[in-house]
Amino acid sequence: MCLSIPSKITKIDKENNIATVDTMGVERQASLELVDQAVEVGDYVLIHIGFAMNKINEEDALASLEVYKEIIEKMEEDERRQAILEDEACPNKA
């Protein structure tokens, strides 16, 4: 019941306060009644049971990703090699 995927706003019906959103390729509609910030087409929102709960801060998301990239870059050489070897051995790797 809690799981949610960030959705991108592709259209806004201002009259009814409803957004059309794209969630990993799936298009659906969501009410914008609960969003307390201004949103526009192109923004990312978190959708839960038919409502956008809030806008997702894109910069924050990018910054988090940067942190993880940095972690990998700062790993010691042997650790990095081991991580890559383990990753190579992953049976699910396409």
């Binding site: 019941m1 809690c2 799981l3 949610s4 995927i5 960030p6 991108k8 990993m24 969501a30 009410s31 009644e33 609960l34 969003v35 307390d36 990312y44 978190l46 839960h48 049971i49 038919g50 409502f51 709960m53 809030n54 997702i56 801060n57 894109e58 910069e59 924050d60 998301a61 990018l62 988090s64 990703l65 942190v67 993880y68 990239k69 972690i71 990998i72 790993m75 650790e79 991580a83 890559i84 383990e86 990753d87 992953c90």
Partner: protein, 374 residues
């Protein structure tokens, strides 16, 4: 700035290499700990992330998860499900609720069973879909069986707003909205409590803000990190907690800052306050009665309250889970699903005896599914 794509987000938050890197950092940090720490993930969504991605197996030996009571379906007492069951069997009633409730058995059966007896039970993706059902069935009474924590409460409030503003006269409400801080307090006040730190729920916190956990840091001296649902979110949050222990800190942190703020969604909170007040009591499945841990409609909206309108047919007796079920102990953190005698035997997702097996987000259900017992 380069445009962020969804795929990039997921690659980052589920990247095995990133998770392994975090594991190594966590191992290093955990070696410095002079004690074992038990971390409660309050939310059932986190329990699932932990089991699905095997995060519990990645943890150093001195860190353990305690699975909390944060699944609204799991903690719904049987007598409330009986209410839904009985309401659905009333003449000219359509009972509407969210999908997770379908299989959960009360003492008389589940809503699925009620349906097989002829009840008109419908499951909606969004509470607003109830309006369409009401418009298409003007001769029927539509009862919205509202469930969930702070996450789903504003959506019910939004439906109330539509009903009142548009003078829709055939939608009623049975309110079962519960709140997170009170059960956390109950768990900490228990003398058997083994919780050293919390991973705060994701979506509840989007609405409430992280401020609702302040008391656990200042009064109970338990650090809290609000985490997102992705495996990297959870790993990063555990790392933050362990660092706090090593640095002798006790703080409230938001790892899930891409969606959560300290104050939360103020518009949603305002809407909740317009329609709801605290209910004096709510009996939690597995945890018993917890005062002020649920919401009810304000008196001025009593004319919409199905619990009052149908009070003559709705019983009030308390109904406990099967005697062998240890879900209460699991949610208090003093037992694990595997410790239960009936786990995976008499109690399975298809025939759950206790609260933690009834919803896919319950700890027992997660252990069953990802322990390859399915």
């Amino acid at each position: 700035m380069e445009q962020l794509k969804l795929k990039d987000l997921y690659d980052g938050f589920r990247n095995p290499q990133t998770i392994k890197a975090l594991k190594r950092l966590l191992d290093k940090e955990a070696k410095k700990l002079n004690t074992k720490i038990n971390i409660m993930e309050v939310c059932g969504g986190h329990t699932h992330t932990i089991m699905k991605y095997g995060i519990n197996q990645l943890l150093p030996e001195n860190i353990e998860f305690i699975h909390g009571p944060g699944c609204p379906v799991c903690v719904m007492p049987k007598e409330r499900i009986d209410h839904a069951y009985l309401l659905s069997l009333q003449e000219n009633v359509i009972l509407v609720t969210l999908g997770d409730m379908i299989k959960v058995p009360g003492s008389r059966g589940s809503l699925q069973d009620a349906r097989s007896k002829g009840a008109d039970v419908r499951f909606v993706y969004s509470p607003l879909d109830t309006i369409k059902i009401a418009n298409e069935n003007k001769d029927k009474k539509i009862i919205f069986f509202a469930i969930g924590f702070e996450t789903t409460t504003p959506m019910t409030a939004a439906l109330l707003e539509h009903v009142i503003k548009n003078k829709i006269d055939n939608i009623y409400f049975h309110i079962n909205h519960i709140t997170v801080p009170e059960p956390m307090r109950v768990l900490l006040d228990n003398q058997d409590c083994k919780i050293d730190a919390f991973i705060g729920p994701s979506h509840v916190s989007v609405i409430t803000g992280s401020k609702i956990y302040e008391e656990f840091v200042t009064e109970y001296n338990k650090p809290v990190v609000v985490a997102g649902f992705e495996p990297v979110d959870v790993m990063q949050s555990i790392l933050s907690l362990v660092k706090q222990f090593n640095e002798n800190k006790c703080e409230l942190e938001i790892e899930y800052s891409r969606a959560v703020s300290y104050d939360g969604n103020l518009a949603a909170q305002k809407l909740n306050d317009k329609y709801f007040i605290k209910a004096e009591h709510f009996r939690w499945r597995g945890l018993g009665d917890i005062p002020n841990s649920a919401l009810k409609l304000k008196d001025e909206y009593a004319f919409l309250d199905a619990e009052l309108i149908y009070k003559d047919i709705l019983p009030n007796e308390e109904i406990d889970d099967h005697k062998l079920c240890i879900c209460g102990d699991i949610m208090r953190g003093v037992a694990k699903p595997n410790d239960c005698k009936v786990f995976g035997k008499a109690c399975k997702p298809s025939s759950p005896l206790g609260s933690c097996m009834v919803s896919s987000e319950g700890a027992c259900s997660a252990y069953y599914k990802y322990g390859n017992l399915l």
